[in-house]
Structures are given as C-alpha cells and as structure tokens.
Symmetry: C2
Subunit: 435 residues, 2 copies
C-alpha cells in the first residue's frame, strides 16, 4: 500500500520517488483521493529537493496519462507546435503558426490564456470578433487538414492533472520549480499528438525565469523529455527584459501581428524572433537547414502566403475577416494617454513586469480568475532599450476605457523606465539555442 505521507517524507529527505509512487500521487490526486494539503506539501518538498531526470520523466508521463491523448496520425504531414514560457507583448504564435503552415508544416496549436502579468494567445485571438477557440476534436482536425493550422484553447480533458496541480501551485508558492514547470508544459505538449516542438524560454525581468542559468536548465530538461518521447525538439532562450514588439494588450497585438504578416512591421525584434522560431519549426519538420528554412519563411512573409493562411484560419474559426483586414473598423478605446520621458538620455532598462501589470490593470489581463478581458485596452511601447530620447518625448501610449486606470497605468509605465546619460546597448534578443 502506497502512503502519501511516506512519499512526502521520502522527498523531504531528498530521496528519489519511484515511478509507481509518482503515478500513484498524480492519479489519485486527479481522482480526488489525495487531499490538496498533502499535495501542496509534497510540491514544496519538490521545490526544495528537486527531482532527478527519471522522476521528471515519470511525472510528465503520469500527468499526460490522466487525460485524453490526441491522435493526429490521420492528418498527413509533419505536425508541429510551439510553446513560450510567457512574456509581455509576446505575440509570436499569431505569426509563426500561419507562416509555418504556409511553408507546409501542419500546426495544431494549443494555447493558454494570460497568466499573471503575461498575455495569452487565446485572449488575443478572442479579441477578433466571432473567433472561436473552443473547437471539437473533429472540427479541429478538419481545419488542420484543410487550412494547415488551427489555434485552439486547451480542452478540459487535456491533462486534467496539470489543471489541478497548476491551480494548487499558483496559490501555494510552488510555481517556480524546474521539475514542476517541465512536467506541466511537456505533459500537455506530448498529449497533443505532435511530431515537432519549438520552445521559447523567456529570460529577464518580464519572464517567469529571471536568470539565464535557470532558464537554460529548464530548456534542457524540456528538450530532454521531448526527445525521450521521440519528438524533434528545439528550445531557444530569448530576451524578456523589455516587452516584445510595440504592442501590449490583445486586439492591438493582433493588429501588430497582421502588420508583420503583411510585411509592414518596423518592430525588428518581432520579425527576427518570429522568423527564427518559424524557421526552426520548418527545418525540424522538413529536414532542410535552418538557413534554407529561414529563406522560405521570409518568402512566406513577402509573398503574403503567411497572411493568407492567417486569414483562412480566422475565417475557419468564425472570426470577422472584415475587421481583421480593416482594423480601423474596430471599436476604439475611450482614453488615449501619452507617457513622456521625464529626462533626456538613453533608455537603460524597462521593468517589464510592471508594464505587464499595468496592462493587466487596464483590463488587458485578469486580476481575478473571473475578470473579463477588455480587448481594446493596452499599451504601445515607442521607446526600447538603447534608444535615444529627449525630455518630453513620448515613450509609450496608454489605451484605456477608464480615466482612473489610464492615469495609474501612466504612472506605472513612467516608473518602469530608467534612463542613462551613456549609450546603452540593446539586449541580445536570441541568447541560445538548445537542441
């Protein structure tokens, strides 16, 4: 007879849990047979004592098996997804998925909602009027086959163990644990029936991982687990020490993505990172070199093939194409407030967490689970690290529906920027590739 108590004690003393013990804990917890308070104390013990690779693999496996595993073998072609650990202004998925599809990859993308200070792909897509993210498995496959991509939220039967465990970790101070993050992400991705996975591990003051060493070790664990499951996996460590691109919010991020897909983007970081991650996905699927794949991705932007795929997908999922193609028709925020630089110099740093929280407080994210997203609010970032500013220059614009919130966002953003007299270099966008 396995005892939760003895399992907790073994981990607390730094021991290794057997596959049987891990499976017992995960399965019985999901079934409601082990109380939250024993699981949270085990999670805290794991936070302190870690897990060896075998335990992480067993944990991922046990979690995966608590839900439905999607079989996509009847969809021809190489199926690939991408996962980002989350950041501020990270809209890469909105561009990567159609671009990869335009290059022949099948992209069954399953995404999440905004979490804490970070945005979520699903919230962004749902800012498109009519867009449906909850799709039955048969429709999901139909769209994937026909369009080449489908963007869906997690169904209730995708790894129920993770749903329960994540909710518990979120309130018991046990989120920041590499074994727990790895198993949470990988159990879901492995249940999706994909062949290829590209991981974007964000590093910096706007990411969950503040530190490069930690981010690297998370990336390595995830790649390792994915490979042991026979998947082709590559991970990138990328910068999150300032918002990605110019827009932070929901609808405004869709507009920024559409602009990029039309080849009209002037946000270098968005173009560079999206191209790189998409090329990686294409290359893992096709076997071409990343350089060749990169050329194909660039072509898919120039030719508008990626944008076409995006429109097809939006249409297939019920979104209003008229608004997507003519963003001026979208409803406008009531308040637009400029944030000005208090001094001249160079942008030295941006407290990205603060920017993310300012957006959440405007209504672009949720402070409580039941909060509704306001799709139209957000922040436009005009000045990024290393850029020269004069006192009084507009560094950001707040889009709000409420005067009070607009004001407080303005104050938050002012406090998030710091300036220097000396020239500052732009942070390295793509820090490492791990495969």
């Amino acid at each position: 007879m396995l005892s939760p108590y003895e399992i907790i004690l073994r981990k607390r003393e730094g021991g290794t849990l057997s596959a049987e013990e891990i499976e017992y804990f995960v399965t019985q917890y999901t079934l409601g047979n082990i109380p939250d308070y024993q699981v949270s104390s085990l999670l805290m013990a794991i936070f302190f004592k870690g897990m060896i690779d075998r335990e992480i693999l067993d944990l991922t496996h046990a979690m995966m098996l608590t839900g439905t595993i999607v079989r996509l073998s009847d969809v021809p072609g190489c199926k690939a997804d991408k996962h980002s650990t989350g950041g501020v202004g990270d809209k890469v998925s909105l561009m990567l998925a159609p671009l990869a599809a335009a290059c022949g990859v099948k992209v069954p993308m399953v995404s999440g909602r905004g979490l804490g200070h970070t945005g979520g792909t699903i919230d962004k897509l749902e800012s498109i009027p009519g867009f449906r993210t909850g799709i039955s498995i048969s429709e999901y496959k139909r769209i994937l086959k026909r369009v080449g991509l489908v963007m869906s939220r997690q169904s209730d039967d995708l790894v129920p163990a993770d749903r329960k465990l994540y909710a518990l970790r979120d309130v018991t101070g046990t989120v920041e644990s590499i074994p727990l993050i790895t198993s949470s992400i990988m159990s879901k991705k492995l249940a999706e029936g994909i062949d290829v996975l590209v991981l974007d591990v964000k590093v910096g003051n706007g990411a969950f991982m503040k530190d490069l060493t930690q981010a690297r070790s998370l990336a390595k664990k995830m790649v390792q687990v994915g490979k042991l499951y026979g998947k082709k996996v590559a991970a990138y460590l990328t910068d999150m020490s300032q918002p990605l691109g110019s827009e932070v919010g929901n609808w405004n991020e869709v507009v920024e993505s559409v602009k990029m897909l039309r080849g009209e983007s002037d946000a270098d970081d968005i173009v560079e990172l999206t191209t790189r991650l998409t090329a990686e996905m294409v290359s893992l699927c096709s076997g071409e070199t990343r350089a060749v794949a990169s050329q194909r991705v660039k072509k898919a932007i120039e030719s508008g093939a990626g944008y076409e795929k995006f429109l097809e997908m939006v249409k297939a999922q019920g979104g209003d194409l008229n608004v997507v193609e003519n963003p001026a028709k979208y409803r406008k925020p009531r308040k637009v407030v400029e944030v000005k630089s208090p001094e001249g110099g160079y942008v030295a740093s941006v407290d990205t967490f603060k920017i993310g929280m300012a957006a959440v407080k405007l209504g672009a994210g949720r402070e409580n689970v039941e909060d509704k997203i306001d799709p139209v609010v957000g922040i436009t970032i005009l000045k990024k690290i290393g850029e020269r500013v004069s006192a009084g220059d507009v560094i950001a614009i707040v889009h709000a529906n409420d005067e009070e919130r607009a004001k407080s966002a303005k104050v938050e953003i002012e406090g998030a920027y710091s300036f220097s007299r000396r020239k500052c270099s732009r942070p390295e966008l793509i820090k490492e590739r791990i495969a």
Copy 2:
C-alpha cells in the same frame, strides 16, 4: 492586506516573517479562513528554512492567543508542570506530580494521549477504573487547591490553533521541525497559568528526536521561549534508546508507578529520573538547591507522602482506590507470552520504536484515531542494555488479549533486541541539563 501567498513565498525564499504575518496566518487558519493547502506548504517551507528566535516567539504567542488562557492567580503557591517529548514506558509524570505536591508544589498537570509509538499519561490514568481526566475549570482549581495536584487532559479550548496545526503536520510530513515543535509545546504550556516548567526532551531510537544535537537545540529554544514569558524553566536531555523502567502499556505502567511511590521499585532508571526531574521542579519553585530538593523528594518517597498525594488525587478524580491499592483485583490479560533470548551475551541495543509499535499493536495505543485503548495489555521488559543474558532467558513478557497479536508482538520484540559477546555499557540516562 496580508496575502497568504506572499507569506509562503517570503518563507520559501528564507525570509523572516513579521509578527503581524505570523499572527494573521495562525488566527485566520484557526478561524478557517486560510485553506489547509496553503498552511501545509508554509509548514514545509518552515521545515526547510527554519525560523529565527523572534519568529518562534511570535508563533508561540499567536498560537497561545487562539484559546483560553487559564488564570491560576487565585490558587496560592508556586504552580508547576512538566512536559516530556514522549517515549516508550515513560510514566514519570504519574510519580513526579504527587511527589512534587508532597513537597509543597502546586501541580496543575495537563497531559496528552499516546501518539504514534509513544504512550500518553492520559491513557495511563484512564486505565484506573472510574478515573476522570476531563474536568471543568472550577473543579480543576478546587482539586488543585485542596490536593495540591490535578491531572487533566487538554480541554478543547486549550490552543485550538495547535490542535488544527498538529493534525495537519501529522499528515503532511512537517512534524520534525524545531520551530514548529517548540511553538506547539510552549503555546500549550504557557496557556496553563504555571510559574515553573520542567521539560524532559527524550533522545534516542524511541524518541521523536533521534539525535542529541537536535534535541539540545529544541530544549534550548523551549527554555528560551519560556524564560521570555517570565517562567522558570529547565530542560533535561534524557535517554530513550530503550524503554524507561520495566513496563510498557497503561495499567501495568500505573502499577509500576505505584510500586515506585511505595518505595518498592527496583527500576533504577525510573527512580533516578523521577527524583531528578521532581527535585528540579521543587528547586525552581522553592529556591532551594537541587541537592536539598532531591533529599526532600527522596523523603517523600520513603515517608509515603507522595503515595498519599497520588491516592488523594485518584480519589478526587473519581478513580477506584481499591484497585489502585490492590492491583491483583484488576482484570487480567488472557494471554501471557514469554519472549526468550535466542543467544547468550549482553544486551547491546533495543529498537525502542519497535517495542513501542508492538505495544500499540497489542492495543496499548491507537493505530487509528478512533481506536480504543485496551488498558490491560502491554509488555514487561526484563532485560535492558548492558545486562548479561543466557540463551533461553526470558527477556520480556507480552500481556495480550488476543493470540494473534501476542504472537506478532513476540516476533517484533525478538527483532528489537540485539546482543553482543562483549560487555556493553548502559546508556547514560540523564545526558544534559539546560536552563
């Protein structure tokens, strides 16, 4: 607004909690406003990160304030209690309380039930037919004033926070934490309205603390907290690497105690430890030296004054004096099984935990909370560490009411003893005094 989540995080990162944060957690948990799962993860973080002295004091204080604090100022004299961290065969309280009372100390003793492999004073007292351990506060004071001692179980309103926290610690692997043990014991003892406290911290394979260093640090913390509350406190580190005295059980431990109070004991360890701890209590109350106090305690044994007090107390609390004075009238266990030494030599060690568990399985303790104690079952220990035995000598006697249980206890006890060809020394009974 205080947030349980942020408090967990601060402790997890090794920070110090403020008095306000500790009070908030303890009070709101006791009121049911903080869920078990957040408390268990905080407890695990405390297990790993510890607490500074100020935090332990604040925790003890906050816990104490969740319940009724007994005021004994209307009872004249010095009020003293003794607490043992628990062991096997530890019946010292049954002798210490009447002996100290015979020496003029007022002893309002509050005790617990058996826990895990250890026995509890309340279970032992309740083996006396008619004996009541649940006493109203007014009767409690009346007996204390008239008899000089009263022995009661914890009332429901004595530190409810500890009741709830202990039950949670017990199932979440967070019992063995010095800050948590200290606050659990001291919050209850400080709520009793006493002036003097003698602590017996058991060390060895039958104790919760296996290790002298750990036991010492627990003793120091408890003494420190008690002194900060203006109490006179002394702690002893004493041996629990074999059962104390000859009897392990309930009624048989009462009989052994009566024998000692009558001056008829041949269990040196019981006599030595009881005399020492009682003398400490008398000395802390009277201001006499411990040597003088020790002489008075010995006299109280010789004169029978301690035994008289014991009988008075039993009578006052409803116990059947006839049976106490004539143990032969007590009902007998159905099975008596001898455990014999498989080899000759010296007793080298006794797995005291195993002996305790064997007694529990006989029915002397509880395997589940709802189990009923069988007062008559138990184990008589005939050979202790360092004693010479020949193959076939009886080393212990099992008293049981069930053939199966008797057999399995016999096997357990055989497995608990180890022998050596070479002479072994008796473990040092009293290892240290901390005051």
